[in-house]
Point group: C2
């Protein structure tokens, strides 16, 4: 960068370029946009950042986002305690809950097993999941980790982890998505769709 960019702004650009999918060019565009706005915007964004990081924590039961020890989804008495849906992250939890098709509880792992990236079982919230199940009251654990190598490995690990409890462990279906054109589906998806075929 040329001498025209002050140090405080270089720091801002460096911080912004750590956002996912944001490189130096985009971060620079963000920073210029912020500087050109009325000062209320930068101040408001700074406050929203501090507030979020201070007020928002993890639910002590499901490890989803929460402003109190128990998140609204865990505190809601109308939800079904006997089913726990296990997800990798909060965005997955939000996506599933938005469907309205699920009224049970959740458990957020905060990642998936990825030995190559140094993510082992102790880095995920697996122990609290086993404890929740062993405490009783849970009849079914639906494993809704991603349908990729890491998500599948995590699902297998969970099945083995919960085997001693005797609880039913299910996996979300995988196959051709709605609107999917068979011609353009990859081989693994098609094989999976065939393998998991159902009576109709």
């Amino acid at each position: 960068m040329a001498a025209a960019i002050p140090a405080a702004m270089e720091r801002l650009i460096r911080m912004l370029s750590r956002l996912p999918g944001v490189g130096e060019k985009t971060a620079t565009r963000f920073a210029f946009h912020i500087i050109e706005q009325p000062p209320e915007y930068a101040e408001g964004l700074a406050r929203a950042l501090s507030d979020s990081r201070r007020e928002v924590g993890w639910c002590s039961r499901c490890f989803g986002l929460s402003e109190s020890p128990l998140c609204p989804l865990c505190a809601d008495p109308s939800r079904d305690d006997s089913t726990v849906c296990v997800v990798e992250g909060v965005p997955d939890q939000v996506a599933i809950d938005r469907t309205g098709a699920y009224r049970g509880r959740y458990h957020v792992l905060h990642g998936s097993l990825a030995p190559l990236r140094g993510m082992g079982p102790d880095d995920l919230r697996l122990k609290p999941l086993a404890d929740r199940v062993l405490a009783g009251g849970v009849k079914e654990v639906i494993v809704a980790t991603n349908v990729d190598v890491e998500g599948e490995a995590t699902a297998l690990y969970i099945r083995r982890l919960l085997e001693p409890s005797g609880v039913r462990v299910t996996r979300i279906a995988s196959g051709v998505p709605m609107g999917g054109d068979l011609e353009f589906m990859d081989q693994i998806t098609l094989s999976r769709a065939l393998e998991c075929r159902r009576e109709m």
Copy 2:
């Protein structure tokens, strides 16, 4: 959004989605990323925002970014006072200065003439430009506004504005860019390249 996203985070997402090119989905991804990082990141970003907005202002002469009344480019005694390069924004100034091909002064307009978007001559730093030129010492003004309808209109306006001063007003060349394949150039660029042809 489902009930799983706390209010402080909704605020953060709303603020982030005002960044250029960032929609609600990207803002949500940024927010989740920020929450998952160690708290130092959110705090550091918040501080960088406040610092930038507080420490960085506009140079009183060229209206580029500056941490002091006069920016480093205006304060540098080795630069040529007789040439002023007029740009629409600071990113343009940075891009030109990075080439190393220009050693004169700058003047940042902070926009271009766009009557449909309500940007008239009084919304740009045109008056200070005229004052700078009238104060004497300037021999050439290079208009480096964008080569689009608004940039061209702004360039024409500047030429007329500075006519009484008798100072030489030039425009950056426009034509086929380096590596440009004639086959894929638009008609306006090609016509311009032909029209502005030079002896060789």
